[in-house]
């Protein structure tokens, strides 16, 4: 069973516009969520995270929103830049476990100049 789902395999936006990447989860035990970015032939790199005690976390152009009742989170990138083109993974974990991450399938973002 897929505990973390990213239902959009790909997203294309124009440079300067907003990119919104979505993620849904099923396990109510999850209390910490992360977004990773991955370029080809490289490992995922950490982008931004949010604890379940918050509903929003912002870091520069990146904002993550968490809706616990809907078990949904989203990553907003504004303004989008061509260098943001990559695969974005949503991941979840819960305190009391070993810190292992449960990843979604990923969304490929293309930002067009």
């Amino acid at each position: 069973d897929q505990q973390v789902k990213q239902n959009s395999p790909s997203l294309s936006v124009q440079e300067g516009r907003i990119s919104i990447l979505n993620c849904d989860y099923t396990n109510s035990m999850f209390d910490y969520f992360l977004w990773y970015k991955k370029y080809p032939a490289e490992g995922p790199t950490f982008l931004i995270s949010i604890s379940s005690i918050k509903d929003k976390n912002e870091d520069g152009r990146f904002t993550v929103f968490l809706n616990k009742s809907a078990k949904h989170l989203s990553l907003h990138i504004v303004p989008s830049q061509p260098g943001d083109s990559a695969v974005y993974f949503c991941a979840a974990t819960h305190s009391g476990n070993t810190g292992k991450l449960i990843f979604g399938q990923g969304t490929t973002l293309q930002v067009k100049p």
């Binding site: 973390v4 990213q6 395999p9 209390d31 910490y32 992360l34 990773y36 032939a41 490289e42 490992g43 995922p44 790199t45 950490f46 995270s49 604890s51 993974f89 991941a91 974990t93 819960h94 305190s95 476990n97 070993t98 810190g99 292992k100 991450l101 449960i102 990843f103 979604g104 399938q105 990923g106």
Partner: protein, 117 residues
């Protein structure tokens, strides 16, 4: 500074052979994780080490897979009698400690692409 490194970057082997994949974590990181990423999927957890011991191996798919971290630093993932379905990118990550939360960001290596013919 040096990040997580993995060798080899690519490994092609024949069905039934034995392979070893190596991970060098960031110095001082006590927690080390192995993940496997199949085409079109996200990374899937395999095993977690805290120091020298495997604290969670619940993600290993079967007994053909084994991993060690004898001195609490470098780790080796070993796969016996490889099958075509083992073909994937094997990712290693390390973190300062093995807990969830902001203090435990996982830093990933570039991965080893394993192809079983």
């Amino acid at each position: 500074g040096a990040g997580v490194s993995q060798t080899p970057s690519n490994k092609v082997t024949e069905k039934g052979k034995y392979v070893e994949l190596r991970c060098d974590p960031i110095s001082g990181h006590t927690a080390l994780y192995w993940y496997r990423q199949s085409l079109g999927q996200g990374p899937e957890f395999l095993i977690y080490f805290q120091g020298t011991g495997a604290a969670d191996d619940s993600g290993l798919p079967n007994d053909r897979f084994f991993a060690v971290r004898p001195e609490g630093s470098v780790s080796t993932l070993k796969i016996q009698r490889t099958e075509r379905g083992d073909s994937a990118v094997y990712l290693c990550a390390s973190s300062p400690m093995g807990t969830s939360g902001s203090s435990n960001e996982q830093f990933f290596g570039p991965g080893t692409r394993l192809t079983v013919l």
